[in-house]
C-alpha cells in the first residue's frame, strides 16, 4: 500500500471515529430530552449504524428513501436504535428539528421508531420480526433478479424469538446470499445477561450449523465493523451471512455499561451533562 493510500485510509478511519463519537453524544442528548427512550441498547449499536450509513456499506438516497436502487436495511432492534435518529437527521432523511421533539406530540420520532420515519423500512419494536420480513424481501429481490443487498440489525436478546430461527432455516435453504444479518451482541436483555436467561452459546457455531456464513467483530471498533460489513456484502456465494458484533450495552456511560438492568436504567441528567462536558 502506498503512503497516499494509507493517508486516505487513516483520514477515512478518523472520519468514521469522529462520526461515531458525534452520534454517541447526540444519542445522549436525545435521551436527555426524552428519557422515555432506551439509551443502553442504543449505545451498543452506534458503531454498527455509523459503519452502515457513513462507511459506504449501504446504498441509500435520503431524498427518495424507498428508491428501488437502495439497499434495504431493516432495523429489528426497535427501541434499541435511537442512535439512528441523529444519523438519519444528519444525512437529510428528515429535518434536524425533529431531534428536538422526540416523544412529543406532533413529532415523528417516538420512543420506538416506526416506519412513518423516513429511512425506516418496516414495523419493528415488537422484537423478532425484522429478520423474517428481511428474508421475504431478500426472496423478492432474488425473484426480481436484483443485486441489491438486504441488511437486518437485531439484538442478541431478540434471537430468543423462535420466528427468527424459522427465517434462518428458510434463508439458507433458499441460498439468500444477499441477506446480511448483523447482531448487536451486547449480551444483556431487559432482565439481565442473555447468558443467564437462555444462553446463546457459540452463536456463530449455531448460525454456521444452520448453513450461514458467520463472522465476528469488535462492535465498537468502527473501522473493523466497516471492513467486516463491506466484506460480508461483497461475498455472494450461495449462503446468507451474519456478523456478530460484540458490543457493550450502555457503552461509554459509567454505571450503565454492562449492568444487569441497564436496559431500563436512565442515567441522571447531571451525569449526561458531565459526559457531554455541558455542565451548567
Amino acid at each position: 500500500m502506498s503512503s497516499e493510500d494509507e493517508l486516505i485510509r487513516d483520514s477515512e478511519a478518523s472520519r468514521l471515529c469522529d462520526k461515531a463519537q458525534w452520534v454517541w453524544r447526540e444519542t445522549l442528548r436525545v435521551h436527555r430530552r426524552a428519557p422515555e427512550t432506551r439509551l443502553a441498547s442504543s449505545l451498543s449499536a452506534v458503531e454498527i449504524f455509523v459503519a452502515l450509513y457513513y462507511g459506504g456499506v449501504l446504498r441509500f438516497d435520503p431524498a427518495e428513501p424507498l428508491a428501488a436502487e437502495r439497499d434495504r436495511c431493516i432495523i429489528s432492534k426497535g427501541h434499541g436504535s435511537i442512535c439512528m435518529y441523529p444519523i438519519l437527521a444528519d444525512l437529510g432523511f428528515f429535518p434536524r428539528i425533529e431531534l428536538e421533539r422526540v416523544c412529543q406530540a406532533g413529532g415523528i420520532l417516538g420512543g420506538i421508531p416506526d416506519p412513518v420515519i423516513p429511512g425506516y423500512e418496516t414495523v419493528n419494536g415488537s422484537l423478532g420480526h425484522g429478520l423474517g420480513v428481511a428474508t421475504g424481501i431478500a426472496l423478492g429481490l432474488k425473484g426480481r433478479r436484483s443485486d441489491r443487498s438486504v441488511f437486518v440489525v437485531t439484538g442478541d436478546g431478540e434471537l430468543h424469538e423462535g420466528a427468527n430461527w424459522e427465517a434462518i432455516m428458510f434463508a439458507s435453504h433458499h441460498q439468500l446470499d444477499r441477506l446480511n444479518l448483523v447482531v448487536d451482541n451486547n449480551g444483556v436483555s431487559m432482565l439481565g445477561h442473555t447468558d443467564d436467561i437462555v444462553a446463546h452459546d457459540s452463536l456463530p457455531d449455531r448460525l454456521q450449523a444452520f448453513g450461514w456464513e458467520c463472522h465476528e467483530v469488535d462492535g465498537h471498533d468502527v473501522v473493523s465493523v466497516r471492513e467486516a460489513l463491506l466484506a460480508m456484502k461483497a461475498q455472494v456465494a450461495g449462503k446468507p451471512k451474519a456478523l456478530i458484533a460484540h458490543t457493550r450495552k450502555g457503552n461509554g456511560v459509567p454505571g450503565l455499561e454492562d449492568e444487569d438492568l441497564c436496559h431500563v436504567m436512565n442515567p441522571k441528567p447531571e451525569l449526561i451533562d458531565r459526559l457531554l462536558g455541558e455542565e451548567s
Binding site: D114, G132, T135, G136, E166, H174
Partner: protein, 345 residues
C-alpha cells in the same frame, strides 16, 4: 426440481380442468380451495407479480402452481410465523402474495405477525397479502379441536384494516379472487375444507354488497356465513313447509359490506337470527350484527346461533357435532321456530 403431485384427496372432487374459467360458473360442486386456486393459477400465467407461499399445505390445483411457477412459489414448511413474515417481505417488494395454510394456524399461530407485519405495516407501505385459510368451523371433522376453527372470525375482526371473506360455496370463493388481486391491504379468506353444495348456480353474488339475499318475504331473517348458509337455507325450507316464512341472507364479506344497503335490508325485520360456525357470544358474526343493529338503531329482536360452551373432543359427523353445540339443523330449527313465535305470536 421435481414436484411430486398431491395425492388424490377425498375431500376434493376437484376434477382437473373442471373448475372455473373467469366468471363462468360450473354448477358441479368442488372444493372452495380448488376453485380459488384455479383462479390464482390462471392469473399467475399473465401476471408475473403474483407470488404464492404456503406452510406445507397442498391441493390438486396447487400442484399446477408449484409445478409451473417454481420461481414464484415458496413452501416455508410448517412455520406459519415465517409464512406471514416472508409474505410481508415479498409484498413490500411489490409482489401480490397469496399465502395458504390451514385456517386456525394461518390466523392464530401467527397472529402477532399478522398484526405487526400486515395490519400495521399496510398503514405505511402499500402491500397486498391474501391469507387463504382452509378448514372453517368444523370442516376438519375428525381432526378435533386443534384443526377445527371457531375463533378465527373473532380474532381477525379485532384487526380494523384486515378484510374478512367467508364464502358459502366454491362459486363465491372463486369470485372473491378478483377483489383479492385488485385491492391492496391484508385480507383473510375463510374456506371450508369440505365440498359444499352450490348456492349460486347461474352467477356469483354481487361482491360489492358483501351480502346476498337468498330468500325474502318474511318478518324474520336468518343471517348466516360460510357453511351455516346451507343450514339456514334448510331451516327456511322446512319452516316454509310448515307455513312459516323466514328470509335468508348469505353474509360473505364481514368487513367491507355495503352498510347502507344492509341497513335498508334489515330495517323492516321484526327478528334477526345470526348463524355462524364459531363460538357464540365471543365477537364473531353475532357481535358484528349487535354492533350494526345498535349503530343503526334497528328495532328487530336478535337470536344468535353459534357454538355453545367451549372446546369438545367428541367424535362424530359434522352434523352430529353441530347438533351437540346447538347449530345443527334440528337444533337451529327448534331455536328459530321458537324465536319466530316469540317475535310474532
Amino acid at each position: 426440481m421435481t414436484v411430486k403431485t398431491f395425492a388424490s384427496d377425498p375431500s376434493s372432487t376437484g376434477g382437473r380442468g373442471e373448475v372455473m374459467s373467469g366468471q363462468t360458473v360450473t354448477p358441479r360442486p368442488i372444493a372452495m380451495r380448488d376453485a380459488f386456486l384455479e383462479r390464482v393459477w390462471r392469473a399467475m400465467a399473465d401476471d408475473g407479480d403474483i407470488y404464492f407461499t404456503c406452510a406445507d399445505f397442498g391441493s390438486p390445483v396447487l400442484d399446477r402452481i408449484r409445478g409451473q411457477f417454481p420461481d414464484r412459489f415458496a413452501n416455508v414448511g410448517i412455520a406459519e410465523q415465517n409464512l406471514i413474515n416472508v409474505s410481508a417481505g415479498l409484498a413490500v417488494e411489490g409482489f401480490k402474495v397469496f399465502a395458504y395454510a390451514i385456517a386456525p394456524f394461518i390466523t392464530m399461530r401467527c397472529f402477532e405477525q399478522i398484526r405487526v407485519n400486515l395490519a400495521l405495516l399496510s398503514k405505511v407501505r402499500p402491500i397486498n397479502v391474501n391469507l387463504i385459510g382452509v378448514g372453517a368451523g368444523y370442516s376438519y371433522v375428525v381432526s378435533g379441536p386443534t384443526h377445527q376453527c371457531y375463533e378465527d372470525l373473532t380474532v381477525m375482526r379485532a384487526l380494523p384494516n384486515v378484510a374478512i371473506y367467508s364464502p358459502a360455496d366454491h362459486v363465491t370463493a372463486a369470485a372473491l379472487f378478483d377483489p383479492c388481486l385488485a385491492n391492496p391491504g391484508a385480507k383473510y379468506l375463510r374456506l371450508d375444507a369440505q365440498v359444499l353444495p352450490v348456492v349460486y348456480r347461474s352467477q356469483p353474488p354481487d361482491l360489492a354488497h358483501g351480502f346476498n339475499v337468498l330468500r325474502a318475504g318474511g318478518r324474520v331473517c336468518l343471517i348466516a356465513t360460510g357453511f351455516m348458509v346451507h343450514t339456514a337455507l334448510k331451516v327456511a325450507e322446512q319452516l316454509a313447509q310448515a307455513g312459516i316464512t323466514v328470509d335468508v341472507i348469505d353474509f360473505f364479506d364481514l368487513s367491507g359490506f355495503d352498510a347502507a344497503g344492509l341497513r335498508r335490508q334489515l330495517t323492516p325485520y321484526a327478528g334477526l337470527v345470526s348463524l355462524e360456525e364459531g363460538f357464540r357470544g365471543r365477537g364473531g358474526l353475532d357481535a358484528l350484527l349487535f354492533d350494526f343493529s345498535a349503530r343503526h338503531r334497528l328495532q328487530a329482536r336478535m337470536l344468535n346461533l353459534g357454538v355453545e360452551g367451549d372446546y369438545r373432543f367428541e367424535l362424530g359427523t359434522r352434523d352430529q357435532l353441530h347438533e351437540q353445540v346447538g347449530i345443527g339443523l334440528n337444533a337451529a330449527l327448534r331455536s328459530v321456530r321458537e324465536f319466530v313465535q316469540a317475535v310474532e305470536p
